[in-house]
């Protein structure tokens, strides 16, 4: 007989049975999440817009505060993924906890914004990927044709044509199967990471005088100006730039919008459905860890680039008219790094690799959006046409096609009109994040069984930890919603039509749900049954 002092830690006896697998490597889960946050693009936006249009903003503090605001959301996803590891994402979480109508509303809202955002990263490919590469190679080689090609890609038509081609290419690849894409992407992401590492390495130890000198040297010919940096200073002053402002808490908070744009998508591993052993540990720490790693990377980069380029020069570049430099758009920080490198091969590594950051969101958006459309159809909420699968390739071709067409239309709207700013839809995503956080908060009370048998059945002073986290996340995301409403660059401040548009998109899922319910009821099908809890007793 054992005694209470016995230290034996009994372990379960696991039988050899299908489905029991070794956990995906911890680094693999982390890499999966980091891929989707696209640190390269995050830095590009931060340095392109931060110093210029957020006077007195502290970029390091913005990164820290943004990470703090996102920790509860990361934990919400982590806890929900641990409680329901095989459900595959927020559509099911919310539908189960808050009911199918709210689940549809919240997830439909995200899908609609995946549609709109299909246009945004496809435009980035031309603007921030291809154009900087071509024009910098043109500058290095003295080949004006290359510079002209680079500049053409920043024009509206150039951006649209290239973006549309990318969308079509990805839809074709995904329709054949994702295997080829992932194989390719796994190689391309290495080029992207190399680009960022080399960029930071090039700047380390440099001071603004070095960068400005390299800038002058490389742009002298193409700009036709003896001292291009002097032109930049004069042009910025003429446009209204008055020099660096004292540190401002308000603008520090406002510039978080650009960080949140990327960092809020750190929860991708929640969508990896499989029977993962120790899901609790893995999912719980991988999402906050992604935040900390990317946040730390941003923090280091802001210090290195401030030391090497100086926020004053970055701000001047943001205000100056780039056409006076012989460029059609403001040179981005990777172009500055490629000038500082003073070596065409290093410049090529930086700018070629950055191409694969520039559109990094797009594949995930197309896949997530098409998966959602497919799932709605599977649940009888959209016509069955959307769930048809290619007999040859076993892929959901119709939902992919829908996503592709919607993305090209969105690209056209983004490029040719001023209706949508880059940040405007993130407010919409935040509304869904708040619903997901509410679902987490009430999970222990609405799905008692699931909570009590789950690995996250933890309480502090009798209150479920997931409830506390959910409430904190609602507060933090509510605060971020306020930031997006106030930031002049987010497209919502002073633009009530766009705020209403966000609200209408958010609520549109309810209309789709109730129309589908009505149609299905006329056929004798009750769509509510899809998520209704069957009694156990």
């Amino acid at each position: 007989m054992a005694t209470p002092d016995d230290k034996t830690q009994p372990q379960v006896f696991v039988r050899k049975a299908s489905g029991l697998i070794r956990t995906a490597g911890t680094w693999d889960i982390l890499a999966y999440n980091i891929n989707f946050t696209s640190i390269g693009l995050l830095l590009l936006f931060l340095f392109l817009f931060g110093p210029a249009f957020y006077p007195g903003a502290s970029l390091p503090w913005a990164a820290v505060i943004c990470v703090i605001c996102l920790i509860p959301l990361a934990l919400v996803y982590g806890y929900l993924a641990s409680a329901m590891p095989r459900s595959g994402g927020d559509y099911v979480y919310v539908s189960r906890v808050l009911g199918p109508a709210i689940g549809m509303m919240s997830n439909w809202n995200m899908t609609m914004w995946w549609f709109f955002y299909g246009g945004v990263p496809s435009a980035f490919l031309a603007r921030y990927g291809i154009a900087p590469l071509f024009r910098t190679m043109g500058i290095y080689t003295g080949n004006e044709t290359l510079t002209d090609i680079g500049n053409w890609f920043t024009t509206k038509i150039g951006t649209f044509v290239l973006g549309a081609c990318l969308i079509v290419l990805l839809i074709v690849i995904f329709s054949i199967g994702t295997k080829t894409y992932f194989k390719l992407q796994n190689i391309l992401i290495l080029f992207a990471v190399a680009s960022t590492v080399v960029t930071v390495a090039v700047f380390i130890g440099k001071v603004p005088a070095d960068t400005i000198s390299a800038f002058n040297e490389h742009l002298r010919e193409v700009s036709g100006k003896a001292i291009p940096s002097a032109y930049v200073a004069a042009s910025a002053k003429e446009a209204g730039y008055t020099g660096l402002a004292p540190t401002s808490l308000f603008w520090t908070l406002m510039v978080m919008t650009w960080i949140y744009l990327n960092l809020s998508f750190m929860s991708s591993s929640a969508y990896i459905g499989s029977e993962v052993k120790n899901a609790r540990k893995l999912q719980l720490w991988s999402m906050p860890a992604t935040l900390f790693i990317v946040g730390f990377g941003v923090l280091i980069s802001t210090w290195v680039i401030d030391a090497a380029v100086g926020y004053d020069f970055l701000a001047q570049l943001g205000w100056a008219d780039p056409t006076g430099l012989g460029l059609e758009s403001t040179p981005v920080f990777t172009e500055l790094a490629s000038y500082v490198a003073n070596n065409i091969w290093i410049a090529f590594i930086i700018l070629f690799g950055f191409i694969f950051w520039s559109y990094a969101w797009l594949p995930g958006q197309l896949l997530n959006g098409s998966r959602n459309i497919f799932a709605y159809s599977l649940d009888g909420l959209l016509p069955k046409w959307f769930k048809q699968v290619s007999p040859r390739f076993s892929t959901p071709v119709n939902s992919l096609l829908t996503m592709g067409i919607a993305s090209i239309v969105a690209l056209g709207i983004y490029v040719f009109t001023d209706l949508f700013s880059t940040l405007v839809g993130i407010f919409g995503f935040i509304l869904s994040f708040i619903v997901i956080s509410i679902a987490a908060a009430v999970l222990p009370y609405r799905l008692k069984d699931v909570f009590e048998t789950s690995a996250v059945n933890q309480r502090i002073a009798g209150v479920p930890v997931i409830t506390i986290i959910g409430i904190l996340s609602v507060i933090a995301q509510g605060f971020m919603a306020w930031v997006f409403l106030r930031d002049p660059s987010a497209g919502l401040n002073g633009n009530p039509e766009m705020v209403w548009f966000n609200v209408i998109v958010f609520l549109s899922g309810l209309v789709v749900y109730y129309v589908a319910k009505f149609v299905q009821r006329s056929r004798g099908v009750d769509v509510d049954l899809s998520f209704k809890q069957v009694p156990e007793e």
Partner: protein, 332 residues
């Protein structure tokens, strides 16, 4: 063509299909209760009934117990807490056994003892489930067809095979008429090879021979239902992470942080569906590959499984004559 599918006309049969409950008490009880809840005529359980693990509860003496579940060790005080813990473990699909420290050490040192214990507990749970289903379904007119899966060893299925009740019917390796509209269901619990070397898996060519044996007596496939545990290969009902078979347990193959996915289903099952074109084809086995697809005229379904969370994944299928009127995937 109607946008959301055809409107049901005439005489119909409504069946509710569930698979891969893996010992989960909660999921099985929901499955049986789903008959009345969803107002169906027929319940079908498509295999992998047995659980996957035994949780030893260490009796420390003096009313103190200790047990580990989901990687967390719990100190239990008294019989009530032990009962509560056992209930929780059963919901997750685990079997429990209260053991002394010496018994635990003996079990830990001898795999054959663990195997005996597992089989005893799994067989007992099977027996309890059959009794529960008979009791709940008595007088409802709902029939409950159950087949084993690749994870269910023959001895665990013995209570089912030996059972002679009115509502619960063993359907494995049989051709059974499930309604008075001439719909026949052919069931097979075997699967193609897996990395786990499970009790009832066979090479695809042998699986093909088993299938040919079952279909031999059927002339008209327009009203036939295949209830084959293994899904057809490359059908979207069989998409799973690729595994490295050389490690124990097998390890997910990843590339650049992304799991490599592939079709893990059976080529023999796919060939049979393509050849015979049954009305409906019901599958499980790959828990994460929930979905519905068409292979020629055949509507093929895998409702997936979330037994580990006590969630009942299923499919309500309405059939009428030689057509499938509706498939509704559920998550209850």
């Amino acid at each position: 063509m109607p946008l959301f599918g055809k409107k049901t006309k005439g005489k119909t049969t409504k069946l509710f299909f569930v698979t891969d409950v893996h010992g989960s008490q909660s999921t099985f009880r929901k499955f049986v209760n789903a008959g009345k809840f969803y107002e169906v005529d027929v319940l079908v359980l498509g295999g992998d009934i047995a659980g996957k693990m035994v949780v030893p509860i260490l009796d420390l003496g003096g009313g103190a117990y200790r047990a580990t579940i989901q990687s967390i060790t719990h100190e239990l005080d008294g019989a009530d807490e032990v009962a509560e813990f056992e209930k929780r473990a059963a919901k997750l699909g685990s079997y429990t056994a209260v053991v002394t420290s010496d018994e635990y050490k003996e079990l830990a040192a001898d795999a054959s003892r663990v195997d005996d214990l597992y089989h005893r507990l799994a067989t007992e749970r099977m027996r309890q489930w059959i009794e529960f289903a008979e009791e709940r379904l008595a007088g409802t007119g709902i029939r409950c067809y159950i087949t084993g899966g690749n994870d269910d060893s023959p001895d665990i299925l013995e209570p089912l095979i030996a059972h002679d009740g009115t509502s619960v019917i063993d359907c494995e390796d049989k051709t059974i008429v499930i309604d008075d509209d001439g719909h026949v269901m052919l069931s097979l619990g075997l699967s193609n090879p897996t990395p786990w070397d499970t009790p009832r898996e066979v090479p695809d060519d042998e699986l093909a021979r088993h299938i040919e044996g079952i279909v031999a007596g059927v002339d008209d496939f327009s009203r036939a239902i295949f209830n084959f545990h293994a899904p057809p290969q490359d059908s979207t009902l069989d998409t799973a992470a690729k595994l490295d078979w050389t490690t124990d347990p097998p390890k997910v193959v990843t590339s650049g942080g992304t799991p490599v996915m592939y079709g893990a289903g059976s080529a023999a099952v796919r060939a049979a569906i393509e050849k015979y074109q049954p009305l409906l084809s019901l599958h499980g086995h790959i828990h994460e590959s929930r979905g519905q697809t068409n292979i020629g005229r055949t509507v093929a379904v895998n409702p997936g499984s979330e037994y580990g969370e006590g969630v009942l994944r299923g499919a309500i299928v309405t059939i009428a004559g030689d057509t499938v009127d509706n498939v509704q995937l559920t998550s209850g």
